[in-house]
C-alpha cells in the first residue's frame, strides 16, 4: 500500500498534547504499528479520507524539540527532512501555549508545510485561558484549527482546515525568528549552504544553518549525507561558534534556545487571555498526596498490589470461564484427526493435538493479558506512570535500573506470579537505553506464573516441614537475584549503551476515557496474539520433532506388538463364552476401548446427578451393548466383561506410557539431556531433570508435565509428589533446592524471548538474555549442590545460606559507587559575565 493520491500527513507535537487522540479520531481503526528503522520507537500510521482524498497519516513520536538528543527526536527530524510530506499537523496543548509553540517555531524553521491544531481547548477554558486563534494564525502565518478531541469536538473543523490547506498554501510566509547577534553568521552559512545543498528549499537552509550553529551532534553528519564536499561549511560553523561563545560568554545553543523561548513567550502572550490568575492546579494538589513522603510509597504499593491482584489473581480466575472454549477447540481437533490404534498413535493425530495444546496454553492467558493491558492503559492515560518513576527512581537507579522499571518488574512477578511477556513489552517507556536493557534482561529472572507449579511440587515433596519458609524464600529470592544481576549487567555488558537524562514532564492528571483504555487494551492484545502466538506455534512444532524422533526401532516396536497381542489374547479368553463377546467384531477391540475412554471422560466432566444421567442416556443411545459392559448394573456376565475391559484398558495405558518414556529417552531431546549430564551432574541434575528443563524452554509449564511423564509408573495411583520423593529416584532436598534455584534463574520462555527481540530490536540481545541465565543458574545450582554436599548441609540450611548470599550481594550492589560520580567530575562552571538581560536582543518578527 502506498499513498494512492500521494497525500502524506504527519502529526507532530510534544508529549501529552493529545496527539494520539487526534490520530485515533482521524484514522479510526485503520491503523498499523511498526518500528522506526533502527530504534524501538513505534511508528504508527493510518489512513483517512479527506474530501475524497485518501491520506496516509503518520503519528510521529511526541518530542519537545528537534535536536538529536533522543531517539524520538532523531526519528521525527529524519522523517520530516526526508519524506515527501503534504502537510505536518502540529498539535499544541492550548492550556500551555508557550511551551507548545517552541516546537512549532522549529517546525516553521524547517520549512515544512505546516498547520497548527490547538487541542485541549476545553482544558484551557477550564483554567480560564482563552486563545484568539485568528491572532495566532496571523502571527505564525499558518492555518490554525481548534479542537477538544478528547470530547470529540472539532474533528470536522480540523478536517476542513486540513483540506483547505492541502488545496492551497497560505499566501503569507511563516514567521521567522530573529536571532540577533547570530544573524550575520547564520546568513553567511545560509549562503554557503545554498551553493552545496541543492535539495533544500530556502527555509530549510536556514534550519540547517541554525542547527550547525547550535552545534547539534548530528547536524554535520546530516549535511554530509546530502553532499560530501561540505568541509568548508563545517569548519566555518565551528569557528563561528567559538568566536560567538568567546565574545558573548554564552554558547550559541543557549542563545538560540533563549531567542526561541522568548519568541514563543511573546507570541503566546499576544493571543492568550487569562480570566483569572493561575492558582495551584488540581494535579498539584493531588500530587501533594500521591508524591508525599509517606503516603506516596504507600499508595504506590497499593496500586501495584491492585494491579497484580486484578490481573493475575482475578484474571486467572476468569480463565476458568474461557478454558472450556479452548478445551472444546481441542475436542474438535481430536474429533477430526484419525482415531488412535491400540498402541499406534498416528502422527496425524498426535501432532495436531500437541500443537493445539501448545497454542492453547498461551491463549489461556488472554483474560489475564486483557485486564493487564487495560489497567496499564489506565495508568498511562491517567498520568500516574511518571509519579511511580518519581517515587522509585532513587532506589532502582542504584541497581542500574530506572524509576520506570517498577512497572515491568511488578508485571514480571516481583512477588510470586507474573508474566514476563507483558513485562518486557511494558519496558518500552524507559527512555534510558542502558536501564531499559538491564530491565528487559533481568525480568525473566522474576517469578512468572509458569514457574510456580514446579516450586509447589518440589516444596511439597522435599520441604514439607518448612513449607512456609520455603515459600517465602522462593517468593523473595528472585528480587534479590534481579537487583545485583541488573547492577552487574549495567556495569559490564551494558556499560557502553546510551544513557538518557531522567528529566521528564509530570503531566496533569487526566481521567482516562473508556474508549481510549479499551482501544489500547484490544490493540495490544491483538499485537501480542499476532506476534507471539505465531512464533510459539512454530517452536511447538520444532520441540515436537525433538521429542518424537528418531522414535522406536523395529525391534522394540515388535516387543510392544507382542505385549499388545498378549493383552488382547487374555481379554478375548476372558470373554470366551460371555454373551457380551458378540460386541467384538473380527477381533477388533478398538471400538470398545474408544467407547470406554470417551464414556469415562464424559462421566468425569459431568457434575451433578442430572448431568451424569444425561451422559448415561447419551452413551446408551450410541451403543446399547457397549453400554451394558460399561455400566453393568446387576448383570453378572456384563460385570465380568467390565472387569476384563478394565484390565485391558489399564494394560494398554501401561504399554503406551512405557513407549512414551522409551521414545523420550531415545529422542533427540533425551539424547541431549544425557549428553549434558557431565555438565549438570555437579548441580545434581540427571538426564531426566535435564529433559524436563529442556522441554520447559517452550513454556515453563512443561517442566512439571515432563517430570510427570518421566516418573510415570504403571499404576497411576500415587501423586507425582510421592513418586518423585520416593526412595527410588535418589533425589534429596539439596537436589530440589538446586533445581528450584535453577528455575528462578531459568532463561526466558520462547514467547518472552520473542518479546525481548521485539523490544531490543536485536537477535543478539535475545540470545544473550537466553544464555546468561543458563550459566548463572548452572553455577548457582552447582554451588548449592556441590558445596552443600561437601559441607553436608541440609536442604533448609543450604536455602538459608543461599538467601544470605543473595541478600549480601544485593546490599553490596546497592551501596556501590554511585553512577553520577562521573557527572560530578565535570569541571566546575567558569564564572562568566552575568547572563544577558531578557529585555533586548530579539523580538518576534512578523512578516
Amino acid at each position: 500500500m502506498k499513498k494512492e493520491s500521494g497525500t502524506l500527513i504527519a502529526l507532530a507535537g510534544q508529549p501529552n498534547c493529545g496527539k494520539s487522540t487526534i490520530f485515533n479520531a482521524l484514522t479510526g481503526a485503520r491503523q498499523s504499528v511498526a518500528n522506526w528503522p533502527g530504534v524501538t520507537v513505534d511508528r504508527m500510521s493510518g489512513w483517512c479520507r479527506i474530501k475524497g482524498r485518501r491520506a496516509e497519516i503518520v503519528d510521529l513520536p511526541g518530542t519537545y524539540g528537534l535536536t538529536s538528543s533522543s531517539p524520538e527526536e532523531r526519528v521525527t527530524r529524519d522523517f520530516l527532512l526526508s519524506s515527501d510530506l503534504s502537510l505536518v499537523v502540529n498539535v499544541v496543548d492550548a492550556s500551555n501555549l508557550r511551551k507548545g509553540l517552541s516546537l512549532t517555531l522549529q517546525l516553521l524553521e524547517m520549512g515544512v508545510p505546516l498547520l497548527v491544531d490547538l487541542n485541549m481547548i476545553d482544558a484551557a477554558t477550564k483554567q480560564g485561558i482563552s486563545i484568539d486563534a485568528a491572532v495566532l494564525e496571523r502571527s505564525l502565518g499558518v492555518p490554525v484549527a481548534e479542537t477538544s478531541m478528547k470530547t470529540g469536538q472539532g474533528r470536522a473543523n480540523l478536517l476542513r482546515v486540513i483540506s483547505a490547506r492541502l488545496d492551497e498554501a497560505p499566501a503569507a510566509e511563516g514567521l521567522k525568528i530573529d536571532y540577533g547577534d547570530l544573524e550575520p553568521a547564520l546568513e553567511e552559512l545560509e549562503r554557503m549552504l545554498s551553493l552545496k545543498w541543492e535539495a533544500g528549499s530556502g527555509s530549510s537552509l536556514r534550519w540547517m544553518a541554525v542547527k550547525l550553529m547550535e552545534g547539534d551532534a548530528e547536524a554535520e553528519s546530516l549535511l554530509r549525507r546530502m553532499n560530501r564536499d561540505v568541509e568548508d561549511i563545517a569548519v566555518f560553523a565551528r569557528h563561528s561558534r567559538k568566536v560567538f561563545e568567546e565574545g558573548l560568554g554564552e554558547t550559541p545553543e543557549i542563545y538560540i534556545g533563549r531567542a526561541r523561548h522568548h519568541a514563543a513567550g511573546i507570541l503566546a502572550g499576544a493571543c492568550t487571555k487569562r480570566s483569572r490568575p493561575a492558582g495551584p492546579s488540581l494535579s498539584d494538589r493531588i500530587d501533594s498526596v500521591v508524591c508525599h513522603r509517606f503516603a506516596g510509597p504507600a499508595i504506590l504499593v497499593a496500586v501495584m498490589y491492585l494491579l497484580y491482584y486484578l490481573s493475575i489473581v482475578q484474571g486467572y480466575r476468569l480463565t476458568a470461564y474461557t478454558w472450556p472454549w479452548l478445551a472444546r477447540l481441542r475436542d474438535l481437533v481430536e474429533a477430526v484427526t484419525p482415531a488412535p490404534g491400540f498402541i499406534e498413535i498416528p502422527l496425524t493425530r498426535s501432532f495436531p493435538l500437541w500443537f493445539t495444546d501448545s497454542v492453547n496454553a498461551l491463549l489461556n492467558y488472554i483474560p489475564i493479558f486483557f485486564i493487564l493491558f487495560g489497567l496499564i492503559a489506565i495508568l498511562e492515560d491517567s498520568g500516574y506512570m511518571p509519579r511511580m518513576a518519581f517515587i522509585m527512581d532513587r532506589v532502582l537507579r542504584r541497581f542500574g535500573l530506572h524509576g520506570q522499571s517498577i512497572l515491568p518488574m511488578v508485571l514480571g512477578g516481583v512477588y510470586v506470579g507474573g508474566c514476563s511477556v507483558p513485562a518486557v513489552m511494558s519496558s518500552k517507556g524507559i527512555p534510558d537505553e542502558r536501564s531499559r536493557l538491564a530491565t528487559i534482561l533481568t525480568i525473566p529472572l522474576l517469578n512468572c506464573l509458569a514457574k510456580v507449579p514446579l516450586y509447589i511440587l518440589l516444596i511439597n515433596a522435599y520441604f514439607v516441614a518448612h513449607r512456609g519458609l520455603a515459600m517465602f524464600f522462593i517468593a523473595t529470592v528472585s528480587l534479590l537475584v534481579v537487583l545485583p544481576v541488573a547492577k552487574v549487567l549495567s556495569l559490564t555488558v551494558l556499560r557502553t549503551r546510551e544513557t538518557a537524562p531522567f528529566v521528564m514532564e509530570m503531566p496533569a492528571y487526566h481521567i482516562p476515557t473508556v474508549r481510549g483504555v479499551l482501544g489500547k487494551a484490544v490493540e495490544r492484545l491483538w499485537l501480542f496474539l499476532r506476534k507471539i502466538t505465531t512464533i510459539v506455534a512454530a517452536v511447538a512444532a520444532v520441540v515436537f520433532m525433538l521429542l518424537q524422533f528418531p522414535g522406536l526401532d523395529a525391534w522394540r516396536k515388535a516387543h510392544y506388538e507382542s505385549e499388545k497381542d498378549r493383552l488382547a489374547e487374555s481379554f478375548l479368553s476372558a470373554m470366551k463364552g460371555n454373551p457380551y463377546g458378540v460386541v467384538i467384531e473380527n477381533g477388533d477391540l478398538m471400538p470398545l476401548i474408544l467407547y470406554w475412554d470417551a464414556y469415562r471422560k464424559a462421566r468425569m466432566a459431568a457434575k451433578g446427578q442430572e448431568a451424569t444421567s444425561s451422559v448415561n442416556r447419551r452413551f446408551e443411545r450410541r451403543n446399547p451393548l457397549f453400554y451394558r459392559i460399561a455400566q453393568p448394573g446387576g448383570d453378572a456376565e456384563a460385570m465380568k466383561a467390565n472387569r476384563a475391559l478394565r484390565n485391558l484398558v489399564r494394560g494398554r495405558e501401561r504399554i503406551l506410557a512405557d513407549m512414551r518414556q522409551e521414545r523420550l529417552e531415545s529422542s533427540l531431546l533425551g539424547q541431549l539431556g544425557k549428553g549434558l549430564e557431565p555438565f549438570t551432574r555437579w548441580a545434581g541434575f540427571d538426564w531426566r531433570v535435564n529433559v524436563a528443563l529442556l522441554s520447559s524452554l517452550a513454556a515453563k509449564e512443561n517442566s512439571v508435565a515432563t517430570l510427570g511423564a518421566i516418573y510415570e509408573q504403571g499404576e497411576g495411583q500415587t501423586s507425582l509428589e510421592e513418586r518423585i520423593s520416593a526412595e527410588g529416584t535418589g533425589l534429596t532436598p539439596l537436589h530440589a533446592l538446586a533445581l528450584m534455584v535453577f528455575m528462578v534463574l531459568y532463561p526466558p520462555c520462547i514467547a518472552t524471548a520473542i518479546a525481548v527481540k521485539v523490544q531490543t530490536n536485536s537477535v543478539r540481545w535475545m540470545l544473550f538474555s537466553f544464555l546468561y541465565p543458563v550459566f548463572l543458574g548452572l553455577a548457582s545450582a552447582t554451588l548449592i549442590f556441590s558445596l552443600g554436599g561437601v559441607l553436608g548441609a541440609s536442604g533448609i540450611q543450604a536455602m538459608t545460606a543461599f538467601y544470605g548470599l543473595a541478600l549480601t550481594l544485593t546490599l553490596v550492589a546497592g551501596f556501590m559507587r554511585r553512577e553520577d560520580r562521573k557527572e560530578a567530575q565535570l569541571p566546575s562552571l567558569p564564572e562568566t559575565a552575568p547572563a544577558l538581560r531578557l529585555s533586548g536582543g530579539w523580538k518576534a518578527r512578523e512578516e
Partner: protein, 74 residues
C-alpha cells in the same frame, strides 16, 4: 547556587545552563532556559529526584541533573 541545592518552595530565575553534556541539551529542549522563573515544588520521598515548576508546567529531574542549572534565588 545550583538547582540541586534549593529546598522545596524556593523560587528563582535560571541564570545559566551547562549544555556541554546532553543533560543540559535535554533540559534546554524541555524549556529550562536561562531567564525563566522556576520554583522547586517538592522532593521525592527519598529526596531525589526533585520536582520543579517552570512556565506553568512541572518537570522532575535527578539532583545530579539539577547541578547543570544555575539559579539566582529570588
Amino acid at each position: 547556587m545550583t538547582l540541586d541545592q534549593m529546598e522545596p518552595g524556593r523560587e528563582g530565575v535560571i541564570r545559566k545552563l551547562d549544555t556541554r553534556d546532553k543533560v543540559g541539551a535535554r533540559l534546554l529542549v524541555m524549556g529550562v532556559c536561562p531567564g525563566t522563573m522556576l520554583r522547586v515544588v517538592r522532593n521525592a520521598p527519598l529526596k531525589d529526584p526533585m520536582e520543579v515548576e517552570i512556565d506553568g508546567y512541572f518537570i522532575s529531574l535527578r539532583r545530579s541533573e539539577a547541578r547543570f542549572v544555575e539559579v539566582d534565588p529570588g
